[in-house]
Structure formats: structure tokens, C-alpha cells
């Protein structure tokens, strides 16, 4: 569990944050509460703290001083500044101390949760290479219904809450990033189906973005921004809707790219129910790439991602994970064609980065 310290001199703020934010759902625990910088420093020195939420303006020692002191002692503690001041010089100073999260009062529960989503992703064990556990199944339909209700009420705050709940639900089931993506894509396709998000040429990019998102926070933000943006656009702007066949194929591709037998012919017969050469043409006109090309690029992108998480992964396993089950040499060939490097070369170069 992540040990959290709250530093604020306002009683209600302290109490509210402590009691109303679902910390445990983010794998967090309130370790202590302080009402000024000196107190907070004492706590940090005496016990293990991972994350600090602090006000700036406080008696005795203000938030920025506290951060400076702590950075002198040891790093490895994440700071989130919560302040009434939005002045530039404060933000600048905070940035200099390495603080990237700067929230303005009053801070809502969902904003704190968004910050947690962003900050805790490195601490949540995820991305197991194995196939998804049986437990990782969620009731996407109910989320979609809730979102639809909120959208009609124009309750944007509620939408944030629902999406956060969706992510929390996924996290609580120990789903891998891969699983999270699939759930997100499913959510997206249901939202499109219910016209909460309008289907157009941009939706494709969106699906691709989710497909290559490397953490939950990014997925959350994509979904949230897209729902908001669509609601800010009248229906008239959507002259060109994405072809539904291609959309279906694309969603299937993102979910099942590991299947070895993923071919245009099979998809046309079992998913899109149109002739394969017609589907091929549609796909090309919508995406600008042939199906084979798109699939290869998608698979190799996944391979690169797996390698980033685990540079030591054997090439054979890698090929298998990306749908090149029996044909390692073909995989290496494709890999080189798209990235310009062999998997081994990439692995050695990426060790430094990670």
C-alpha cells in the first residue's frame, strides 16, 4: 500500500480528503495528517511516506519549503501541491523542485483520483505477460448506461467519476494493461454504438491511441476528453462517419491481434460479413493502409511495448505474443522492416532507457 501524507491547515479540507477520497481503491493508505510544514517534516523523518498532498500557504513552514527540505533529505517521495494560489511564480518554483502535480483549490474528489491514477500507475503491479485471468471481467454495459444518463444531464463531473470507477474496477481485478485496453476499446465501441461518441474518421485514431496507450491514466484521459469533445460538437460536424465494417474489423483487430490466423478473408467471413476484396478496399480507404500493413505495424508496436516492459524477453516468446506464433524469422524480418532494428538490437538499446 502506498503511504500518503496530507498536509493542510484547513480542518474541513483535511477531513474531507481523508474520509471521502477512496484511497484504498488506488492502493493507498493515509499514513498521517499534518497541519503545517514542520509537523509534516517530522512525520516524513519518522516513518515511511510515499506520497504527500500539501497546501502551500501554511503557518511555520510553507509547502514549498517543505518540499525543498524533503528533497534535501531523500527523494523518492511524490509531491502534489494543493493551493488557492494560481500565481505563476509559485508554479514555477514548484516545477523547479520537481513537482509536476499542481492542483487548485477547491480540489474535487475526482481530481484527486485522477492524480492518483497518474501517480500510482508505476506502483501498481500490472502487465503480466500471461493470458488474462478469468477474474478480469467487468460489466461494461452498466458503465455505458451511467455515462449515457450523465451525458443527457450534462453532468460532466459525474462522467469523470464514472470513468474513474471504471478504471478502478479494472485495477481492482488485477487486469493487465492489455486487458485494460480491451475493456476501454469495448467501452468505446459501446459508446459509439449508443452515439455518445460519434463515429467518424477520428474515432479510428482514438481506437489506435487506446491500443497503444501505455498506462491507465492515458486511457482515462482519452475517454474523458472524447466524451466531452463530442458533447461540445453538434451533430452537423459529423458528415463523414467511419464505415461500420471497418470499425468492427478494427475493434476485433485490437482485441485479437495475438491470433495467428487473423486474415482479411477470415474477418470478412466471420466478422464483417462482406466480401474480402471489398473489405480490403474499404479498409485501405479508411485507414490509408492495407490490412496486412496495418496489422503488421500494430503487432510490431505491441512487440516493442512488451520489450520496453521486459527487455529480457526471448524473441520466440515475443513473436508468439504478437501473433507470429510459428514463424520467428518472419517476425524478425517484419520487426526490422518497421523499426529499422532487430528485436535484439532494440532490447539492448532500450535497457539504458528503462
Amino acid at each position: 500500500m502506498i503511504q500518503v501524507l496530507l498536509v493542510d491547515d484547513e480542518e474541513f479540507s483535511q477531513k474531507g480528503m481523508e474520509n471521502l477520497v477512496p484511497w484504498e481503491q488506488w492502493n493507498c493508505e493515509i499514513a498521517a495528517v499534518a497541519s503545517n510544514g514542520v509537523e509534516a517534516l517530522e512525520i516524513i523523518n519518522s516513518q515511511k511516506i510515499d506520497l504527500v498532498f500539501t497546501d502551500i500557504k501554511m503557518p511555520e513552514m510553507d509547502g514549498l519549503e517543505l518540499i525543498r527540505e524533503v528533497n534535501n533529505i531523500n527523494s523518492g517521495i511524490d509531491f502534489v501541491i494543493i493551493t488557492g494560489y494560481g500565481e505563476f511564480e509559485y508554479a514555477q518554483k514548484a516545477l523547479r523542485y520537481g513537482v509536476r502535480n499542481y492542483l487548485l483549490k477547491p480540489v474535487g474528489i475526482s481530481e484527486i483520483e485522477e492524480t492518483l491514477l497518474k501517480l500510482t500507475r508505476n506502483r501498481i503491479p500490472d502487465l503480466e505477460v500471461q493470458e488474462s485471468p478469468e477474474s478480469c471481467e467487468i460489466d461494461i454495459e452498466s458503465f455505458v448506461e451511467e455515462i449515457m444518463v450523465s451525458v443527457t444531464q450534462k453532468n460532466w463531473n459525474k462522467i469523470s467519476e464514472i470513468l474513474l470507477a471504471f478504471i478502478k474496477d479494472i485495477s481492482s481485478r488485477n487486469c493487465s494493461l492489455e486487458q485494460t485496453r480491451i475493456h476501454a476499446i469495448n467501452l468505446l465501441s459501446l459508446l459509439i454504438k449508443n452515439e455518445v461518441i460519434y463515429s467518424n474518421e477520428k474515432t479510428l485514431l482514438l481506437a489506435g491511441e487506446i491500443g497503444s496507450a501505455d498506462n491507465q491514466s492515458v486511457i482515462y484521459n482519452i475517454l474523458k476528453d472524447q466524451i466531452m469533445m463530442t458533447q461540445n460538437q453538434g451533430e452537423r460536424s459529423f458528415s463523414k462517419k467511419m464505415n461500420p465494417h471497418v470499425q468492427k474489423v478494427l475493434i476485433y483487430l485490437i482485441k485479437h491481434y495475438k491470433d495467428k490466423n487473423l486474415t482479411l478473408k477470415w474477418l470478412s467471413e466471420n466478422i464483417a460479413y462482406v466480401k474480402s476484396d471489398y473489405l480490403g478496399k474499404l479498409f485501405l480507404s479508411e485507414t490509408g493502409k492495407t490490412f496486412a500493413q496495418y496489422l503488421a505495424e500494430f503487432r510490431i508496436a505491441r512487440a516493442v511495448e512488451y520489450q520496453k516492459q521486459n527487455p529480457a524477453i526471448p524473441v520466440y516468446d515475443l513473436a508468439k505474443l504478437c501473433g507470429y506464433r510459428d514463424n520467428v524469422s518472419y517476425f524478425i524480418q517484419q520487426y526490422k522492416k518497421i523499426t529499422g532494428m532487430t528485436p535484439a538490437e532494440f532490447a539492448s538499446s532500450s535497457v539504458v532507457n528503462t
Binding site: 474541513f12 474531507g16 500557504k57 488557492g84 483549490k105 477547491p106 450534462k154 461540445n232 460538437q233
Partner: protein
């Protein structure tokens, strides 16, 4: 056309006109003068020819005198009658002596030769023999011709000595003699000398001459093809003849007895030498005057126009900088009094405008600033936001989600309105604030308020002035909701403008509306008037602020906002 070039054109054309008048005057003077000159030249030739023929006549007369001379008669008599050779010789000697005196007296007569009937040749010459090898000429056909003429004179030329003309005559005894001795006298006349004495100008002016005697060319000076000239001049007294590509003034004179014919040619160049020199000087003066005038004109024009051009440039700069920089106008050098005055007046005007603008602006700014500052000073922002934060958490703790939402939205709106750093905000930021505003209003009015937002996503990052949308929406709510008491529908539409670089913002409501003639624009709300003023200050005539409203049909407000410049980055 620029005033400078117009000036220049006018002055140059008047100068050219004067030049043309001058040149035509000169040309006509030249014509007149050349006529006079020709006349006087040919006059000179006529008088020369007159005295020339007189000399010829006197020579002819001389030969008659010689024949009638007593010594000559004596010699002829002795020659014919006397058997005494001594007497013959003595009479001949006496004659020859006499003849040589004639040659001394007449400067043109070089020599006289006597040939007697026996073919003996004697010459009368005081000097040593000056003319050589005349024997063959004298003994040739000329002798026979002379004898045949029986005492009449004969003029002939001598090919090998062209400067001599020869007058020959057979002499005879005066009286009734049946037999006459056959003696002939040859007078050698130096024609060049004769010409020189009668026409002293022959040496100068490169004068060319041909002399014909009875159609036969007797003498030519500096002329190669006399026949050509004679042919050219047939029946013409004078004309211009071209020799070797050079014009010559040619005169033809015939003596009264038509035996002698003279041709005189003077190169026109020589004749008009002085005239040409004067012409050259005049042209040079013209050129110098032209250059001096042009320089003077151009400088004068520049002195007049360049301060005007400078001034207009300054005006442009001042216009572009919105009077921000009251650069001291630098007066151009050598500016005339009027220009100085112009500059001075302009400068005064700019200063006045600038002071006025500054005064107004400063007043406005200080007013706004003081309002804002007093607001900020009254409420410490830290206190304000901490209180709101507490309020929010209290609401959450007491399970009052609507209140929590209102507090949060209100805080954002407050923060935005107290922000004085940046007058511009992105469309996206503005939409977030609008949603906050609507959140609050929705909680207040529930289902009575419905709204849609339609923004082209490309416009999200474009910047617009703060508080552009909110006053419009506020206005719509005020009129359609608070007055009517039924449901209010508001559409917010932001699209790219089809006509200009910018975006059209449309706020539509289903409120009561007003008929066109007494539109809301006459008495718009304070917020709306303020917005209208702000936009026209920011964008001037580029901006747009339209209110379309009809009674019972709702109101639509359209504003146009051009893209901010720094936006391309």
C-alpha cells in the same frame, strides 16, 4: 502620377519647347546667311573673271602691238627683201631685244618665241632659258594651225606644262605686199600667275578651279574630273556639288563672247568654317544649360516633394503604431518654410491626439485597475479559496453533491474573472468555464434551462478574449428565462468563418425576442454593451457584433473574432 514626375515632365517639356524654338531660329538664320554668302562669293568670282578676261584681252592686244611694232616690221622687211645676212641678223637681234623687254613689262608673259620662215627658232628672254623643251611643241601642229589662221591669234594649251597657255600669231608686213614672210610669234603666258593676280583668294579656302576655252579644258586646279563638273553644271550658274563625299559650293561663269568658261568650287566646310564654329559653341551652351537646368529642376522638385513623402511615411508609421511611439519627427535638411510649418503642425496634431488617447486610456485603465485591485485587496485570494475549499468539503461531507458542484464551479469562474495576466483564453478553456457556468445555472433552474454546444474541434486551441461567451449566455438567460418563466433553450455554436480568417460565435435562444426596429441593441444590458465595446476596441472594424431578433422568435447574437496572431505557433 506622382507629383514629382509630373513636375519633372512639365519642366522638361517646356525646356524642350524653348530648345526647339532656338534651334529653328538658328536654322533659318543659317539658311539666310548661307544665301548671302553664296551671293557674295559668286560676286567675287564674277569680278575676278572680269579682270581675268581683261588680262587675256590685253595679252591679245599686246601681240597685235608687237606685230605693228616698227622693229617687227623692219625685221620682216629685212627678212623678206634683204640679201644681206648681216642686216637680217641685226634687225632680228634688235627685235628680240625689244621682245624681251615686253616679257619684262608684262608679269604674266614668261617668254616670247619667234620662228622664221626657214624654221629657225629664237627666244626672247631676259632670264636664262626658263622654259625647256618647247621646241617640239612649237614646231608641231600648232605652228601649222597658226600659219593657217593668217594672222589671227590662236590660244592653245601645252600638255606637258599645264601652267602655261600659249598665244600664237603669224606676223606679217603691214602694207600691200604680195609676198609675206612666214614668221610666227609664240607668247608663253603663265596662267597660274594670271589667275592668282586676278583672284587673290585662290590660295585660301581650298578653292578648286577649271577653265575651259572653246569647250576645251585649258586649266584645272585641284580637280580630277573636270568633265563631270562641267556636265553637272550645264546651264546652271551655281549649285552644291559632291566631290569625294564632300559638299562643295560650285559656280560657273562664262565670258560674254562665250569662249572662256570658268568653274570655281569651294568646300562648304571651308566657306562656313566660322559659322560651324559658332554653331558648335551654341550647341555646347545648349547642352550645358540643359544639364544645369535639369539638375536644378530635380533638386528643386526633390526639395518640395521629399519632405512630403517623408511626412507621409511618418504618418503611416504613426498610424501603424497606434500613436504608441511619438517619435520626434526629424525635419528634413534644407526644408523650406512651408514644409517646416507642415511638419510642425503635424507634430502638434500627433502630440495632441496622443495626449488625448493616453489620457483616456490611462483613465480607463486606472479605473479598471483600481476596481480590480480594490476587489482583490478586499478579499485575500488565499482566504477566499481556502474558504471555498472548506465549503466544498463540507458539502461533500454532508452529502450535498449539488452544493459541492456549485462551489467548485463558482470557484473556477471566480478564478478566471480575477485572472488579470492574460486577456486571451483558448476556446477550450472558455468552454470549460462555460460548462461550469451552466452547471451552476442548471442547478438553479433545473430542466427549465437546456443548452447545446457545437464547436469545431480545430478551433479548440484558438484564442479568444476572456468573457466573450459568458456575457452572451447570461444575456440570453436573463431575457428568455427570467422574464418568460418557461423553458429556455440556448445554442452555443462556434464555427470557422467562411468569409474571413477567424471564427463566428453564435448564441441563440428561444426567448421573447424583439422586433428589429427597437432592437435590444438600442438598450443592451451592461454586460453586452461592455462586450461590444471591448470587441470593437480589440478588433476595430474587423470584428462583428450582430443582433438578429424578431418578436416571439428568439434572439441570435453573432460575433466574429479573428484568429489571434500568436496562435500559429
Amino acid at each position: 502620377m506622382k507629383i514629382r514626375s509630373r513636375f519633372l515632365l512639365f519642366l522638361l517639356s517646356s525646356y524642350i519647347a524653348i530648345l526647339l524654338v532656338g534651334i529653328s531660329y538658328q536654322v533659318s538664320t543659317y539658311r539666310l546667311f548661307s544665301g548671302y554668302l553664296y551671293d557674295s562669293v559668286s560676286e567675287t568670282f564674277y569680278s575676278s573673271v572680269g579682270s581675268f578676261t581683261n588680262s587675256i584681252k590685253s595679252l591679245e592686244q599686246l601681240s597685235v602691238t608687237i606685230m605693228a611694232n616698227e622693229l617687227t616690221q623692219n625685221y620682216l622687211r629685212e627678212e623678206l627683201l634683204s640679201e644681206n645676212s648681216f642686216a637680217r641678223t641685226r634687225s632680228r637681234e634688235e627685235l628680240m631685244l625689244n621682245l624681251s623687254i615686253y616679257t619684262l613689262i608684262n608679269p604674266h608673259l614668261k617668254e616670247i618665241i619667234l620662228i622664221d620662215s626657214r624654221g629657225n627658232l629664237y627666244n626672247a628672254n631676259t632670264n636664262n632659258k626658263s622654259i625647256s623643251h618647247y621646241e617640239e611643241f612649237v614646231m608641231g601642229s600648232t605652228l601649222q594651225d597658226t600659219i593657217a589662221l593668217q594672222g589671227k591669234y590662236l590660244w592653245s594649251k601645252w600638255e606637258s606644262e599645264p601652267t602655261f597657255l600659249i598665244l600664237s600669231r603669224k606676223i606679217n608686213l603691214i602694207g600691200n605686199y604680195l609676198v609675206q614672210p612666214e614668221a610666227v610669234l609664240f607668247h608663253f603666258v603663265d596662267i597660274e600667275k594670271l589667275l592668282e593676280d586676278n583672284l587673290p583668294q585662290i590660295k585660301s579656302y581650298g578653292l578648286k578651279t577649271s577653265i575651259y576655252y572653246e569647250g576645251d579644258l585649258f586649266y584645272s586646279r585641284l580637280i580630277d574630273d573636270s568633265a563631270y563638273i562641267r556636265q553637272e553644271m550645264e546651264n546652271i550658274r551655281y549649285k552644291t556639288v559632291w566631290i569625294n563625299g564632300e559638299p562643295h559650293f560650285a559656280t560657273r561663269i562664262k565670258t560674254n563672247d562665250k569662249t572662256w568658261e570658268f568653274f570655281f568650287l569651294i568646300p562648304t566646310k571651308e566657306l562656313f568654317q566660322d559659322m560651324y564654329r559658332i554653331n558648335r559653341i551654341i550647341y555646347l551652351i545648349y547642352l550645358l544649360l540643359f544639364i544645369v537646368f535639369t539638375v536644378l529642376i530635380v533638386r528643386t522638385i526633390q526639395r518640395i516633394t521629399s519632405p512630403i513623402i517623408e511626412l507621409s511615411k511618418e504618418m503611416k508609421i504613426i498610424d501603424e503604431t497606434d500613436f504608441v511611439s511619438t517619435i520626434p519627427l526629424k525635419l528634413p535638411q534644407n526644408a523650406s518654410e512651408e514644409v517646416e510649418l507642415l511638419y510642425y503642425e503635424f507634430y502638434q496634431m500627433i502630440n495632441k491626439i496622443d495626449t488625448l488617447v493616453n489620457k483616456n486610456l490611462k483613465q480607463q485603465l486606472s479605473l479598471n485597475q483600481s476596481q480590480l485591485e480594490s476587489l482583490s485587496n478586499q478579499l485575500n485570494p488565499h482566504f477566499l479559496y481556502n474558504t471555498l475549499d472548506s465549503l466544498y468539503w463540507m458539502a461533500e461531507l454532508n452529502k450535498q453533491p449539488e452544493m459541492a458542484l456549485m462551489v467548485k464551479s463558482l470557484s473556477k469562474l471566480l478564478r478566471s474573472s480575477l485572472n488579470k495576466d492574460d486577456p486571451l483564453i483558448t476556446v477550450k478553456g472558455q468552454l470549460d468555464l462555460l460548462n461550469d457556468y451552466f452547471s451552476i445555472q442548471k442547478i438553479r433552474f433545473k430542466e427549465r434551462l437546456e443548452y447545446t454546444i457545437d464547436v469545431e474541434s480545430e478551433l479548440y486551441d484558438k484564442k479568444i478574449p476572456r468573457f466573450t461567451l459568458q456575457p452572451l449566455v447570461e444575456n440570453s438567460i436573463k431575457y428568455s428565462l427570467e422574464k418568460k418563466g418557461s423553458q429556455c433553450l440556448i445554442d452555443v455554436i462556434i464555427h470557422r468563418s467562411e468569409t474571413a480568417e477567424g471564427m463566428d460565435i453564435r448564441i441563440r435562444d428561444n426567448g421573447p425576442g424583439v422586433s428589429q426596429d427597437k432592437g435590444r441593441s438600442e438598450n443592451p444590458g451592461i454586460g453586452l454593451a461592455n462586450l461590444q465595446q471591448r470587441l470593437s476596441l480589440l478588433y476595430g472594424s474587423i470584428g462583428k457584433f450582430e443582433i438578429n431578433s424578431h418578436a416571439g422568435e428568439g434572439t441570435e447574437i453573432v460575433i466574429f473574432i479573428p484568429y489571434a496572431k500568436e496562435m500559429e505557433e
